[in-house]
Every structure is written in C-alpha cells, then in structure tokens.
Amino acid sequence: MTNKEFLERISQKTHLEMDEVKELSSSLIGVVLDEIADGNSVTIQGFGSFEPREKASRKIYNPTSKTYMVVPSKTTLSYKMSAALKAQLNKE
C-alpha cells in the first residue's frame, strides 16, 4: 500500500479532507520523531512502541578491494509490536 492509498483510507474513516489528513499525518510523524530524537520512547496502545536504538560504528571488510571500511554509528528507529497486536494478527 502506498502512502497515498493509506491517506485516502484514513480520510474515509475520519471524514476529513485529504489535505487535512496529509497535514495531520506528517505532523503526527513529526511529533513522534521529535520525541524519539529526544531519546524518549513512544508507546501506542494496541499497536506497539517506537524507541530510538543506537547502532555502534563497525568495521567491515571489502574482500574485492581488500580494504576495511568504517560504517559510522547511527541511531535508528526501532519498533516492537504490542502483545495485543501480535495476538490479533495470529488469531486466524
């Protein structure tokens, strides 16, 4: 499902205009990411939790050029599904 289809479905559900839905979804993502960037974790009941995860820098070896490369450390967004959602998805 693409972003557009996704937003259309939300628009049908909430009876909001597409423009509004677009704006709200981008600001919702913005709010969540702001909190994550501050080092907080965000838990949405019945869906799961988002939290920042630090990935340490590591060395990798390229066998063809025979050189070592450094992959820089970074912070990614990790997601863990909630137990309720897992139960729901595995019901069938």
Binding site: I10, L28, V32, G39, S41, G48, T67, T75, N90
Partner: protein
C-alpha cells in the same frame, strides 16, 4: 530523556502543534494506527512516507529443547510485524543532514588510511571484478584484447551475451579465414599464370614487360593488403564482437577481387593468349562468389528449418495432454448406459477417472522450477509448498554444488 510517552500525550502534542481540537487529533491518530493494522491483516505492505515500512513476516515452526528436562518441543510459528525505518528518519535521528552524510564519506575517503571507502568508490571495484570474470574463459585470445572490452559488461547475463556474440564472431572469423585461404590460393594461381605468360612473351617487348610487371606488383600488393585485413580480423574480432566489422571486410575483399578482375584485362590487352586466361580467371572468381552466395543461402535455410521444427514441437507439446484424456471420455457414458456391465469394466473406468484426476492436478503445480535472480531454495519452498520446511525435501531430490548459491537459470525439480 528516556521518558515513556503514551498515545494520549502524543495526541495532545499533535493537537497543540497542528491547531486542531483534541478530539480530532485523537480520532485521527487512532485511525492512523488502525488503518495500518487493517492493511497488514489483508497481507499488504504499508509504506508510510517520512516514517518507514511495516511488513508482516512469518516465522516458521521451530524445534527447541527444554533445558531442564532435555525434551524436545516445538515452538509454533507466528506472524511478526517487521518495521524498517526510512533512511531520512535515520539521518534525522543520528543528527546529520544529507550534506553532512556526504561530507563524511568524502573525508573518510581521503584521510582515513585503513578504511572507509564511500559508495562511489565501490562501483569501479565492481566493474573490475566483473571484467575479471570472463578472463579464464577467453584464454586463447591475447591479453591486449581486454583493454578494449566495453564497460557495458555489468551483469552476468551480459557476460553471457557477449560470450555468445564472441562465439558467433569466432565462427564468422573462421569462415572468413577459409575464404581468405581460398583467395590466397587464387592469388598464387594467378601469379603462376602471369609468370608463365611472361615466359611466353618475346624478348623484344621488354618495355611492355615492365609495364606489365608494375601493375602486377600493385595487384600482389592489393592481395597482400587483403591478407593483412584477414590477419587483423583474428585479433580484432574478440575485442569488438559486433557483427558490423565482418561484412565490411567481406566487401573489402570482394572489392579487391573486382579490382584484380578489372586490372588484369587492362594490362594484358595486347596479347590474345592472355585474354583466354583472364576469361578463365573471371570464371573462377565468379564461381567463388557463387559458392559464397550458395553457402549463405544454405545457412539461412537451415536456420529457418530449425525454427520451423521448434514451432512444430511447441504445437505438439500442448496437444499431448489431450490425448490421454480421450479414452476416459467414452468410458464414462458406458456406466449409465449399461448398468449390467461387469465389475472389471467399472473398475477400469474408475481407474481411468483417477488417472484423469491425477493429470488434471499435476499442471497446477509445475514439476520443475527455473532459478531466477535473487531466488533461494527457501523462497521456492515458500512459493510452491507454503512453508520453508520443504527445503530439505528439495535438497533430497536435487543435487547442487552449493545449495546456498545456485546459479541463475538452473532447473530445480519439485517433488
């Protein structure tokens, strides 16, 4: 820092930031996550711009051992929701902009000694690697030839293509060499003829002789050049396996032949004897040209024949499955028409029916599978049997040099 935020606080901040009522932001946020879950339930992959991708991944059954009792038990499989953050999210969270990321790779490229090659440096390495691949296959060709190899070679398929082209070019080159040999023999014969003619000429016409010999030298030069061209082909062809060069050389040679044909009558116009011999020469060259044309026609016809045979085979293949189905059809109507028929015939009819059923079932699942790029045995197992556990069954039926790395195009039997 390290706070745990709930759905409610997120909805509140959303209401504050976007200036909508708390009720709207609440319902919106709920709809947002509900929609994701709904889409996932229908098996869709949900891609949200600015956040990432949600995807349902199936985890198969697996066996484990209870540590305290030593008993084996099965952990049942389940579905899990995998999330991959978008690259932009990672950049934002890692506190770097796109330009930051770029400057990083650049600096590491030049300063760090023991490391860090950026993406841009990896590409030439790949090309080098790929160029190395064909080397062992083309041992017969001179090393210099590889200097000219087109850098278009970027995938194994194209390597194969080039190899095919090379094969074709080689065949053509051999043909050309044979033709050149014929032409050479022709040239030698003509020279002998000329020598004989020179001997016949009276000593008084010395001047005429010199006139004759000069064009002769020219002619032999021509044919020499011709030979050189052919010699070049053997080196040029592997370098540039395009078919355009070949016809050029052929036309060149034919031109040279024509020149030979046209020049000679001019030089020996005075002598009537030589006219006969030049006539002979003309006929011989005409024969050679004719032979070439016939050869070309032959090859063309053979090609057409092969295609026709292939077409016939294609037509026959779909026709086959229908033939075994026929005998079962007359078997059916006998049942209601003649209820007194012995049990044997009934059993036969049933057998035929079951055979028919078996035949109908088979085409639903093909018996073989051709490996495609990026496919693994696990994926095939998942595709045809719906579970990853059939990999062992596949390995039992098939033998691979390396089951983890099956070449593209290999045929896998499906038990």
């Amino acid at each position: 820092m390290n706070e745990k935020l709930s759905f409610q606080s997120i909805a509140d901040t959303l209401a504050r930031k976007s200036g909508v009522s708390k009720k709207v932001s609440d319902t919106f946020a709920k709809a947002f996550f509900d929609t994701i879950v709904e889409a996932l339930k229908t098996g869709e992959v949900v891609k949200i711009k600015g956040l990432g991708t949600f995807k349902l991944v199936e985890v198969g059954d697996r066996e484990s051992v209870n540590v305290s009792t030593g008993k084996r038990f099965v952990i049942p499989g389940y579905k899990k929701l995998a999330f991959t953050a978008e690259d932009s999210v990672v950049d934002v969270l890692s506190g770097r902009t796109e330009s930051d990321a770029q400057s990083y790779t650049e600096t590491t490229e030049h300063t760090e000694i023991e490391a860090s090659v950026s993406v841009s440096e990896e590409k030439p390495v790949e090309i080098e690697k790929l160029i190395q691949v064909p080397e062992p296959e083309h041992v017969e060709t001179p090393q210099d030839a590889f200097a000219g190899i087109d850098l278009l070679i970027s995938t194994p398929e194209s390597v194969e293509e080039v190899r095919q082209q090379y094969e074709e070019a080689k065949a053509k080159m051999e043909e050309a060499v044979e033709e050149a040999r014929k032409a050479n023999a022709e040239k030698l014969r003509l020279e002998k003829l000329l020598e004989r003619l020179e001997k016949n000429v009276e000593p008084e016409e010395v001047q005429a002789h010199t006139e004759n010999t000069q064009p002769l030298a020219q002619q032999s030069e021509n044919s020499e050049i011709d030979d050189d061209d052919d010699g070049d082909i053997t080196y040029v062809m592997p370098e540039t396996p395009t078919e355009e060069h070949e016809p050029n050389d052929e036309t060149k040679r034919q031109e040279a032949l024509h020149r030979v044909m046209t020049e000679q009558p001019k030089t020996q116009e005075d002598e009537s004897q030589e006219k006969k011999s030049s006539n002979k020469r003309f006929w011989v060259t005409a024969l050679v040209v004719l032979l070439l044309a016939v050869l070309g026609l032959f090859i063309y016809l053979i090609h057409q024949n092969i295609e026709a045979v292939e077409n016939v085979q294609k037509v026959e293949q779909p026709a086959k499955p229908t033939t075994p189905a026929k005998p079962t059809k007359p078997a059916k109507p006998t049942k209601p028409a003649a209820p007194k028929v012995d049990k044997d015939s009934l059993a036969k009819a049933q057998k035929a029916d079951s055979v028919k059923v078996a035949e109908e079932k088979k085409p639903e699942r093909p018996t073989t599978h051709r490996m495609q790029r990026g496919e693994s045995l696990t994926r095939i197992s998942q595709k045809y049997y719906g579970t990853k556990d059939s990999v062992r069954a596949l390995l039992r039926v098939n033998t691979f040099a390396d089951p983890d790395n099956i070449p593209v195009g290999a045929v896998v039997k499906l038990p």
